[in-house]
């Protein structure tokens, strides 16, 4: 058996590949779930369906999806132009830190000023954190993957340093900041815990979608991401677009951090460093780097997160299973999508060669970028 490149791809193939990936994910994760003493079917039901059966559950799903929406969008904007920003985690935290700094600088502002300024501060924080890798890439051609990754632990340490130092809670002595002034509180929606940050996210999704799909800039971004050399040859300023996307990406992640502290916590705690940025890579990739895809996957993963919490209580299944499930899903989907370009051909029944791995007939291809 071997793989041969398909001449033409049928329309049903991509959805079918994703469906297969989902089934494989369920099969692969059933083992560990059983080992942990839970019934796989009940667990999957908890993860995916149970949260959506109650209004409160749906609200929790949307609440969990909100930060992922921002980090997923941030990663998608950067990946689109072939700028591998894997620092959404650090940019998200930098946004939360900057917003907190704003809230402590002018604690008494009314909401009408405090909220826009808080969000703006978050965006700036994200841009600051994205600036150095983008600059090093633009000026000296230094790989942004490494620099954006390295700044993630630095942001976590900065957060911890601030919370154990200047922002330590003077009353309790815990490494949590004090609560913000009353102006720095995003309004809740429909009496639930869901906050207006979700609306900010949806607006960003809409704007990103329109820019990517219906404007010259969107076409240019796509061209740069798919083939920087050809885009440059066509007069598109590749370096400039990547630079701008890198900073916009940082800003979006930073806004995510801002709305998380303004909408949920109303204070800065170390619990904000929950890997939203890394999960953003999952969201963006599974969402096909499109705005609508990011929205859908963010909701899906939010659903799984809420489900994982409820399963940890009702089924005694450690909530880390949610992370396992989403990362396995990522890997199976990208694998299925990569493999779907090939069709399996039974080798002529001549000399079966069991030692042979899958081999595909395809000229040298760039997979990155």
């Amino acid at each position: 058996m071997r793989f041969v490149l398909r001449a033409r791809e049928p329309r049903w193939l991509a959805p079918a590949a994703v469906a297969v990936a989902v089934l494989v994910t369920l099969a692969l994760t059933a083992g560990p779930i059983r080992l942990a003493g839970a019934a796989p079917v009940a667990a999957f039901e908890r993860y995916v369906f149970t949260p959506l059966t109650t209004p409160n559950g749906i609200a929790e799903v949307l609440l969990s999806a909100t930060p992922l929406l921002f980090t997923g969008l941030a990663v998608a904007i950067a990946f689109r132009v072939g700028y591998y920003n894997i620092g959404a985690e650090g940019q998200f935290l930098a946004g939360a830190i900057a917003t907190t700094a704003m809230a402590f600088t002018a604690p008494d502002l009314p909401a009408v000023l405090a909220l826009p300024l808080g969000v703006l501060a978050g965006a700036l924080g994200g841009v600051v954190w994205a600036f150095l890798p983008a600059l090093l890439r633009r000026r000296f051609g230094i790989d942004e993957v490494v620099t954006t990754l390295l700044l993630n632990p630095v942001a976590v340490l900065l957060l911890q340093g601030l919370l154990t130092g200047p922002w330590r809670n003077p009353v309790t002595g815990f490494p949590d900041s004090t609560s913000y002034g009353s102006g720095y509180e995003l309004p809740a929606l429909l009496g639930s815990r869901v906050h207006a940050g979700l609306l900010v996210g949806l607006v960003l999704v809409a704007v990103t979608g329109v820019v990517l799909w219906a404007t010259p800039v969107g076409v240019r971004l796509r061209a740069v991401g798919q083939s920087p050399a050809a885009a440059g040859f066509s007069g598109i300023r590749v370096g400039v677009l990547q630079w701008r996307s890198a900073l916009v990406s940082g800003a979006v992640a930073g806004v995510g951090g801002a709305v998380q502290v303004l909408g949920v916590q109303h204070q800065l705690t170390t619990s904000i460093a929950a890997g939203y940025g890394y999960t953003g890579v999952v969201v963006a990739t599974l969402g096909g780097l499109s705005a609508v895809g990011v929205l859908a996957v963010a909701v899906l993963l939010g659903d799984v997160q809420v489900g994982a919490q409820s399963a940890s209580i009702s089924l005694q299944l450690p909530s880390q299973m949610g992370g396992v499930l989403s990362s396995v899903l990522l890997l199976t989907v990208v694998s299925a999508v990569a493999v779907r370009r090939y069709r399996l051909v039974r080798r002529r029944p001549r000399q079966p060669d069991p030692s042979e791995g899958p081999r595909a007939e395809r000229p040298l291809q760039k997979v990155g970028g």
Binding site: T215, G218, R222, S227, A230, A231, G232, F233, G235
Partner: protein
């Protein structure tokens, strides 16, 4: 078993002893395309078999199968009568088959010795000293000079080819496949290569020689196999064949009745194009657009290049180039591949920054500007890397408008309607065989070149820089490109045509500059130019440069 027993199409030769290598019924399909259709072919020890055919006839596919780089869908390969399975080059090497491809298989960062050690190396400790001695010994025995300590990426193309040949012959090689070995060589190096081939075949080596250049084939081959549309249409002794007869076989002139309509098209094209495509000698070469050669010096300058230089190691890759293209003329640039053409084009297009010098288009200085500004100033481009000039993941229409998206806006949005209309009109005007929404990836080389021509010419460029515009295209597509270039000249644009095909340059250009070692080493009027004269220019300087460097 002999060839005659099988009675295949290749069995027109009389019964003879078991051939060294024998292909039987080799078939390979790529989707709907049959690249090789039940091909039977054999080679004897000490024999040079020339394999001919137009681009896309299936020569490369066949050699890749023979070397284990690709697997046949049906058929078998026999060596000395024994069937063998070739699933990788390692199998081919073990079976005594060596190959030198057009793209050299050398690791640039390694030395010659290290490259030669790669084949068949064990995993354990390697003995560099012994390997170096082996390389020197083989180089002397084979009469192919190589420097064992040189780092490959610093060698010239001819030197790399010699390394490849020594590599292929290091082991127990009985059949050597040479895929268009002369395409990158200056005439003097071709003579060296042919001398080596003769010496090696005298020692019993069999050689499969692939070329487009018929005069070379007649000179070196013992037997000639001709492929057309994946089928072997002739397998003849070379003795007594002349280039014109071979050319006729290649394009299918002899079996006209059975051929489909498009083959008829190929027959209908000018004898000029046919001769150019198959690389005939000057006698049958196209007549230059003869009388109107003398270009009026009063015509405006379309492209002016002064002192253009790109530094390189060890010597400049483009070295103080001056050239002028006036409106309404085609200026050719001849030279052996790798003598600065690619770099010159990159400097003109602005994808590489020049070390020194100026570029002006129609009076606008372009030095230091990016590609977008150059486009606006009236520079049209057609580079040798067609697939690198388009965004392969996008559609035909998107690629057609990529250079000036802002022209197709409605408010801030891209108007799909305007894009579609523009694309449709270009598709009509340039006879592109595709729908606007087709992925450009799916287009043939000729159609893709039409898209690029359309994109460049539609903007009415002051000057068009066209690099290897017909490489890899079939006869009809070549003719189409020539007609477009001529039309552009007639419309008053300047054209800078960079090509390795001397007949093409002589046939279509008004003047020809010769580039060697990154320098312009000569200029001739196309009307009186001959291959030989150009060849001397291309070679003479190469030798001089070699001496300088030594």
């Amino acid at each position: 078993m002999t060839a005659a027993d099988r009675g295949g199409p290749g069995a027109s030769v009389p019964a003879r002893p078991t051939p060294l290598v024998e292909l039987r019924g080799i078939t390979k399909r790529f989707g709907a395309l049959v690249a090789n259709d039940a091909i039977d072919l054999s080679v004897d020890a000490g024999e040079v078999l020339a394999l001919l055919g137009e681009n896309g006839a299936g020569k490369s596919t066949l050699t890749r199968i023979l070397y284990g780089l690709s697997r046949a869908d049906a058929g078998e390969i026999r060596i000395a009568g024994q069937p063998v399975t070739m699933t990788s080059p390692a199998d081919a090497l073990a079976a005594g088959i060596g190959m030198v491809t057009q793209e050299f298989s050398l690791v640039g960062t390694m030395t010659v010795t290290e490259n030669l050690m790669l084949t068949g190396s064990s995993l354990g400790r390697v003995d560099r000293k012994a390997a170096r001695a082996r390389v020197l010994e083989a180089s002397q025995r084979l009469g192919v000079p190589v420097d064992p300590d040189a780092v490959v990426e610093r060698l010239s193309v001819g030197e790399r080819q010699r390394v490849e040949i020594v590599k292929a012959l290091l082991g127990d090689c009985r059949l050597l496949v040479l895929d268009e070995p002369t395409a990158v060589l200056v005439p003097a190096d071709v003579d060296l290569l042919f001398a080596s081939i003769r010496r090696l075949t005298a020692q019993g080596l069999a050689v499969v020689f692939i070329s487009h250049k018929l005069h070379e084939v007649v000179e070196i081959a013992d037997r000639i196999g001709i492929l057309r549309r994946g089928r072997l249409v002739a397998d003849l002794p070379a003795q007594g064949l002349d280039p014109v007869a071979i050319a006729a076989l290649m394009v299918g002139a002899t079996d006209q009745p059975g051929t489909p309509a498009s083959a008829g098209d190929a027959l209908g094209v000018h004898g000029e194009t046919l001769a150019t495509a198959v690389g005939l000698d000057g006698s049958a070469a196209p007549q230059a657009a003869s009388a109107e050669v003398a270009v009026d010096p009063a015509r405006p300058v379309a492209l002016q290049v002064q002192g253009l230089t790109l530094a390189g190691d060890p010597r400049p890759r483009v070295d103080d180039v001056d050239l002028t293209v006036r409106a309404g003329e085609i200026v050719g640039v001849a030279g052996v591949s790798g003598n600065g053409q690619t770099e010159l084009v990159a400097l003109l297009c602005g994808t590489t920054a020049a070390t020194a010098g100026t570029v002006c288009v129609g009076g606008t200085e372009l030095t230091g500007l990016d590609p977008a500004a150059r486009l606006r100033a009236g520079l049209g481009r057609l580079t040798e890397d067609r697939r690198g000039s388009v965004v392969l993941g996008m559609s035909v229409e998107q690629n057609l408008v990529l250079e000036d998206l802002d022209r197709f806006r409605t408010g801030p949005f891209l108007s799909r309607r305007k894009v579609r209309a523009h694309a449709a009109s270009l598709i009509e005007r340039f006879d592109i065989r595709a729908a606007p929404g087709d992925p450009i990836r799916s287009l043939s080389g000729g159609n893709m070149q039409k898209v690029l021509l359309a994109r460049a010419i539609e903007r009415d460029p002051t000057v068009l820089v066209a690099s290897q515009p017909t490489r890899g295209l079939d006869v009809g597509a070549c003719e189409y490109v020539y007609s477009q270039l001529r039309a552009l000249r007639a419309a008053g644009s300047g054209v800078l045509l960079i090509s390795e095909d001397l007949d093409e340059l002589i046939g279509i250009a008004d003047r020809i500059l010769v580039l060697s070692g990154g320098r312009v080493v000569g200029e001739v009027a196309a009307a009186g130019a001959t291959r030989e004269a150009l060849g001397v220019l291309m070679t003479g300087h190469a030798a001089a440069a070699g001496e300088r460097a030594a």
